[in-house]
């Protein structure tokens, strides 16, 4: 549950929250691209570090820590898999360079999770829907998207209640062999899916009784506008992208170990 909290919108006022979702989206895309561009640990660490002031500016340190803690398990797995596969298949590399490359892959994963976490922590689903709508996506699709996002925490809570109810009836989810464990989830998934379908039908009915789709051309109470800060963020993102492309083609990046020694 606490892992989800690391990706759930936190409604507070901060310069980052007030940014246009489209500007933030550009930033996240650039960050993704750059993170995938590099295999070395130094640029990836730099990417990780430049996001920390953003986290503090957005005042979401606690939630961000949650997403980091939640991804720790996967990070360790990625590290272990990289380490093992490089160790057995890379052949003539030294152990330190193998270690460094595995660490780089882990940091890359963490950077991706981190940027995702910041984006969703500071962007309300409504704003995101609005951004989609203003980008020309049909309203029905935008609405489906925002509804889906909004119902994630509801479903998570419901899943917990169902788990509790079935545990009270003697279900031990963590018992038995692999197949048995999969079967243990049937009593949880069936009520969850049935309720989700029922809820969606009810939602459709209430939407229609509130005249959903009555007007052809909807207008919005809020209209997104690109402001100075948004422009700055987009400029920064583009700069980051250009510099990264240049560096990755023309500059030799030394391994961290050689710098330390």
């Amino acid at each position: 549950m606490s892992v989800f909290d690391g990706f759930k919108f936190r409604s507070i006022s901060s310069p980052i929250h007030q940014l246009d979702p489209r500007a933030k989206f550009v930033y996240v895309c650039v960050l993704f691209a750059v993170a995938i561009m590099f295999n070395n640990i130094i640029p990836l660490l730099i990417l990780f570090l430049i996001q920390i002031p953003i986290v503090f500016m957005a005042k979401v340190q606690k939630e961000w820590m949650r997403s980091m803690k939640g991804s720790a398990v996967f990070a360790i797995m990625i590290f272990a898999v990289n380490l093992l596969s490089l160790y057995f298949y890379a052949g003539h590399e030294t152990f330190t360079s193998i270690l460094e490359r595995s660490l780089a892959m882990t940091v890359r994963f963490i950077v991706l999770v981190q940027s995702f976490s910041i984006f969703f922590l500071t962007t309300s689903p409504d704003m995101l829907g609005l951004a989609l709508e203003q980008s020309g996506v049909p309203y029905e699709l935008c609405f489906a998207f925002t509804t889906a996002v909004r119902f994630v925490p509801v479903l998570a809570e419901e899943a917990q209640t169902i788990i509790d109810a079935q545990k009270s009836r003697g279900l031990e989810i963590e018992s038995g062999n692999f197949l048995r464990r999969i079967r243990n989830y049937i009593p949880i998934l069936i009520p969850l899916i049935v309720n989700a379908i029922r809820r969606s039908l009810e939602l459709a009915e209430t939407m229609e009784s509130r005249a959903w789709g009555a007007c052809e051309n909807r207008t919005n109470l809020y209209v997104l506008k690109i402001k100075t800060n948004d422009l700055l963020l987009i400029l920064f993102s583009l700069l980051l992208l250009t510099v990264s492309i240049y560096v990755s083609i023309h500059v030799y990046i030394p391994p961290l170990t050689s710098l330390l020694m």
């Binding site: 549950m1 606490s2 909290d5 419901e158 209640t161 169902i162 509790d164 109810a165 079935q166 545990k167 009270s168 009836r169 003697g170 279900l171 031990e172 049937i186 009593p187 069936i190 009520p191 049935v194 309720n195 029922r198």
Partner: protein
């Protein structure tokens, strides 16, 4: 016997749902836990079968600390029926639904069949035996959920909001049924808002507010104390309201039972008629 000692519980999101609850429920007792939404009633009963473990303090069920054993083990003693049956029904037939817990607890085929027959019969669900629980009405689903817990014959039965969505007749049947179980020696804990239902059952009442117990005592004492009941956002039962109005005519205040009320009024009327 359930002993709750200085229980504190904080949810992972930082909300403190229980702050210093002390409670003792004897074997064979009938207790109703009441209070406004978010007072911590459901959180408290989820500690009694170990679904939630105390942040501070402890909960003992028959002397066993709930932190030491699994929910599955405690559930054999403590049957918790959830508020919404849609959160537990999943089987193809009502029969299978009821046998789910029995299979989990490892009963043999023969016992399972006996217990399922008994539970179906007890809750008047015999004719739905081979029907999908999803086809039933709200009230029937609730009875299936109840049957699925009663089937393994737990010593302590906890019912979370059993009267929601039930019509008057069903409520009355449920009340008779709960009283019958209680007479058979079962410990009953009911979490509810339904003050009329409680007034008719006449159990021991525990009033909760903001994670604390603010009062505990006989229904006649608690449900006729207007200040206390108001503080817990519970309404006075209709009979208590009536007798509050009649107080200035010399009627007692602590009446919640319809028959007792009728008796008192009847006696007064007869005395007056005799005087005339």
């Amino acid at each position: 016997m359930i002993i709750v000692e200085n229980l504190y519980f904080t949810y992972p999101n930082g909300v403190e749902a229980l702050s210093g609850v002390n409670l003792r429920i004897e074997d064979g007792e009938f207790v109703a836990i009441m209070g406004q939404n978010g007072a911590g009633k459901t959180t408290l009963v989820k500690h009694m079968n170990g679904l939630l473990k105390p942040t501070r303090g402890r909960v003992l069920v028959d002397g066993i600390d709930t932190r030491r054993v699994s929910v599955a083990r405690l559930a054999r003693k403590v049957g918790l029926v959830f508020q919404n049956p849609d959160h537990q029904l999943f089987s193809e037939t009502v029969e299978e639904e009821i046998s789910f817990a029995l299979k989990n607890f490892g009963y043999d085929e023969k016992t399972i069949k006996e217990r399922v027959d008994w539970a179906l019969n007890m809750l008047n669900l015999e004719r739905y035996r081979r029907i999908s629980p999803f086809m039933l009405s709200g009230g029937e689903k609730k009875r299936v959920a109840l049957a699925s817990v009663l089937a393994w014959d737990p010593k302590i039965i906890i019912l979370d909001e059993p009267t929601i969505g039930q019509d008057y007749m069903q409520k009355e049947k449920l009340r008779q049924f709960i009283l019958q179980l209680n007479q058979q020696g079962k410990t009953i804990v009911v979490v509810t808002h339904d003050v009329e239902f409680v007034a008719e059952c006449n159990p021991r009442i525990i009033l909760m507010k903001q994670g604390k117990i603010i009062a505990s005592g006989e229904a006649e004492e608690i449900l006729t104390n207007e200040d206390l009941v108001k503080e817990a956002y519970v309404a006075l039962p209709e009979i208590a309201k009536l007798f509050k109005c009649l107080e200035e005519y010399g009627f007692p205040r602590n009446v919640i039972d319809v028959y007792e009320a009728a008796d008192l009024i009847y006696k007064r009327l007869r005395a007056r008629n005799e005087r005339i």
